[in-house]
């Protein structure tokens, strides 16, 4: 008995030793910055001009909700995230179902669908910036010169009605493959016996999808949903590269405002508070997504 305990203890110690490097990394690069920035968020601290952070209670948090640019960027982020989340989840699921049912050379299609995710989003944004360019862009060239519909050419990025749509479309293009692969993995994990039973019972494809496949994907909804929420709320590169927040502040998102406050104005205290507000929003929606998916299961 004694031998068994000491064996277990030494195993636990070994386990702890093996996790030590990872633990150190997490402590230094994640926990420590998190605690420090949490402290900064309650401080008046300009990284350049202040000697040290000066505690100011919840002033930064109050200021955030009085900052018209932050409120506008929050609204823009919600608009982006809502459309992005809905479209990428629905479109990702449709693509996954097509790949699941397609019996031909699915590897080719899987590769094609997944390809955009390996292209850095910032690079894709530069490319799409040119495609959407008003006077000499590819899209307007095709519309005007190939289809001979010059009246339909448009300043896709310079008009506030379409700038956000363009940014959403680029982000969806870059990430729908990943969501589709997640859903495909979920689909492939559904027991073939259930699907075969449905087939024997004479269930149509539509009935199989809505009554068997979709209800069995709740775990994938959680993972894909959280990923899409994170991606949607933390959007930065496409609006930064494609529009810089223009026209006006129509495409300015929360991450851009946080970055500017931290690294352009050096207001680390205020930027940290904005960062924590964003984190709380992301956590709330992730929790909501998890609860809704779990309730469906129940």
């Amino acid at each position: 008995m004694k031998t068994s305990l000491s064996y277990r203890q030494s195993k636990a110690r070994m386990g702890l030793l093996f996790t030590l490097p990872g633990l150190c990394f997490v402590t230094v690069y994640m926990i420590y910055p998190l605690i420090t920035s949490f402290y900064y968020s309650f401080s008046d601290y300009n990284f350049v001009y202040s000697l040290r952070p000066k505690l100011n209670g919840i002033k930064n948090y109050i200021a955030a909700f009085k900052d018209p640019i932050f409120l506008l960027s929050m609204k823009n982020t919600f608009v982006f995230a809502t459309f992005y989340f809905l479209i990428v989840m629905i479109f990702g699921l449709i693509v996954a179902l097509l790949l699941f049912y397609y019996k031909g050379n699915s590897y080719l299609f899987k590769t094609m669908i997944f390809m955009p995710i390996v292209v850095p989003l910032s690079l894709a944004s530069i490319l799409f910036n040119w495609i959407f360019s008003e006077n000499f862009g590819l899209l307007n060239y095709i519309i005007g010169s190939v289809f001979h519909l010059p009246q339909l050419t448009f300043g896709w990025l310079t008009h506030r009605s379409t700038a956000m749509v363009a940014i959403i479309s680029v982000t969806i293009w870059s990430s729908v493959g990943f969501i589709a692969i997640l859903f495909l993995a979920g689909l492939q994990s559904i027991s073939t016996e259930i699907l075969e039973a449905a087939l024997i019972d004479g269930a149509s494809t539509r009935r199989t999808i809505f009554s068997i496949i979709l209800p069995n994907l709740h775990e994938t909804y959680i993972i894909a949903g959280i990923w899409a929420i994170l991606r949607g709320m933390k959007i930065y590169a496409p609006p930064m590269v494609m529009t810089g927040g223009a026209p006006g502040n129509a495409t300015r998102v929360m991450y851009m405002h946080i970055y500017d406050n931290a690294f352009e104005y050096f207001e680390m205290g205020y930027a940290s508070a904005l960062g924590f507000i964003l984190s709380i929003i992301v956590l709330f929606f992730s929790y909501l997504n998890m609860r809704l998916s779990t309730e469906k299961e129940g």
Binding site: C24, T27, T153, T158, G244, A246, P247, R252
Partner: protein, 432 residues
């Protein structure tokens, strides 16, 4: 006991990780032995100011010196050096920055050298009188020279002379006419603008209205219109005047008619790309862009003219310069490198003749080859520097959306002026 050992191990491990994260390779200088000089800049600084060529030449002249060149991604990244510099260490000995607004952040904590009294740079042939005034002004913070100018630029209008000829906008010698008022500028653009089946085939004018550089355009046209950018107090930007109202009115008219493109809102290079592609008649941007236009359209088809008021009131001058951190162990070597190479004829005339960046030192102006330099030199001599606001980045970020909203018709003229005025009043003027 064992738990304590594990906790100690964890602390030690965290300590080692922290140390490793913070450790930097230290350069050990010795006047006689091998020395290392580390230079950083934006990639265009390195390329267009011939830093690599200068480094090679310096290493040939001084075999004991090794020069390492690195680049940083974008202007605001320079801020990150403050962390190291505040701790008395540095990964670079010379940093090339795009103006004093990127150096002001290091001054309150005394992290960079002042070229006046601390480095005693301006002696002999490097006396301040040997430098272009606007360049020196752009490097001053609280009256001291913290940024040594390397190159200067100024805003002007780059024109496609072929298009001007076709539109009959040339004088008897075939030189492009100069618009004297903004209304005239608009009329020129209207004449030069061409569409076919609803598509633009030749854009009348493109004005630097990007989120990144709109501030420079504002400062340029303000100075051109008023001869100064400040109110009577000498520190607050002056937007509430009839001249600026007229500029805004014309700009909006041009946008409504489509003769001024809005492409620059989202792409600060859209104008120069259109110019180089031969699709644009007038580009209000950094005047040195004419070199790029000449490379694709031919020297005879591109010229530079002042925008309305610039020939009398001047424009906005800006540029790139050098800062030296106090944490550098080889500050003297850095100064020697600057004097021997960065201010040499090879660098200073190369940058003007190949890339259109005006030299910092006046004696090299006469060695510039293109005739356009005469026009730009005249404008530059009357130009003003960037206002030394401690929070200038706020102006850079907040002014463009206000003006873009005006140009899009979402703000009326009076509201636009009052919002700009409010912004101007709120800026931190403690560094004047």
């Amino acid at each position: 006991m064992k738990r304590r050992i594990l906790v100690l191990l964890l602390i030690a491990c965290v300590g080692v990780t922290l140390f490793a994260a913070g450790a930097k390779e230290a350069s050990v200088p010795s006047a006689d032995g091998p020395q290392t000089l580390r230079i950083t800049g934006l990639s265009w600084h390195i390329e267009k100011i011939f830093v690599e060529e200068a480094a090679k030449a310096f290493m040939q002249d001084h075999p004991n010196v090794n020069i390492e060149i690195s680049t940083y991604a974008e202007p605001s990244v320079v801020s990150n050096y403050a962390i190291d510099w505040a701790r008395g260490r540095t990964p670079v000995d010379i940093a090339i920055v795009s103006g004093a607004q990127f150096a002001a952040q290091f001054v309150p904590k005394d992290l960079i050298y002042d070229f006046d009294s601390e480095l005693n740079f301006f002696t002999g042939e490097f006396d301040k009188s040997a430098f272009a005034g606007v360049g020196l002004d752009n490097g001053q913070i609280t009256g001291k020279q913290y940024v040594l100018p390397l190159i200067n630029e100024t805003y002007a209008v780059v024109v496609n002379t072929q298009m001007f000829k076709e539109a009959g906008l040339v004088d008897a010698k075939g030189m492009p006419l100069i618009p004297n008022t903004w209304e005239e500028f608009y009329q020129f653009a209207k004449k030069l603008h061409k569409t076919s089946s609803g598509s633009v085939v030749q854009q009348g004018a493109s004005i630097q209205w990007s989120s990144v550089n709109f501030y420079a355009t504002i400062l340029s046209v303000l100075r051109g219109a008023l001869g100064d950018i400040y109110k009577a107090d000498g520190v607050t930007l002056n937007f509430d005047n009839p001249e600026f109202r007229e500029i805004l009115r014309v700009w909006r008219q041009g946008v409504v008619d489509g003769v001024f493109t809005k492409e620059m809102y989202v792409d600060n290079m859209a104008g120069r790309n259109s110019l180089m592609a031969g699709k644009l008649a007038m580009l209000l941007d950094a005047g040195g862009r004419f070199i790029e236009g000449e490379q694709t359209l031919g020297e005879e088809n591109v010229y530079v003219i002042p925008f309305p008021g610039a020939d009398t009131g001047g424009s906005f001058g800006f540029g790139a310069g050098i800062i030296i951190p106090k944490a550098s162990p080889v500050a003297d070597l850095a100064v020697q490198f600057i004097k021997e190479q960065m201010m040499s004829e090879m660098v200073q005339t190369g940058t003007v003749n190949v890339y259109g960046k005006m030299p910092a030192m006046l004696k090299y102006y006469d060695l510039a080859e293109a005739p356009e330099w005469g026009v730009l030199k005249d404008i530059a001599n009357k130009s003003g520097a960037i206002p030394p606001y401690a929070d200038f980045a706020r102006f850079q970020k907040e002014a463009p959306p206000i003006l873009q909203n005006f140009l899009d018709g979402r703000l009326d003229l009076e509201r636009t002026i009052s919002e700009l005025d409010r912004l101007a009043i709120s800026l931190d003027k403690s560094l004047f």
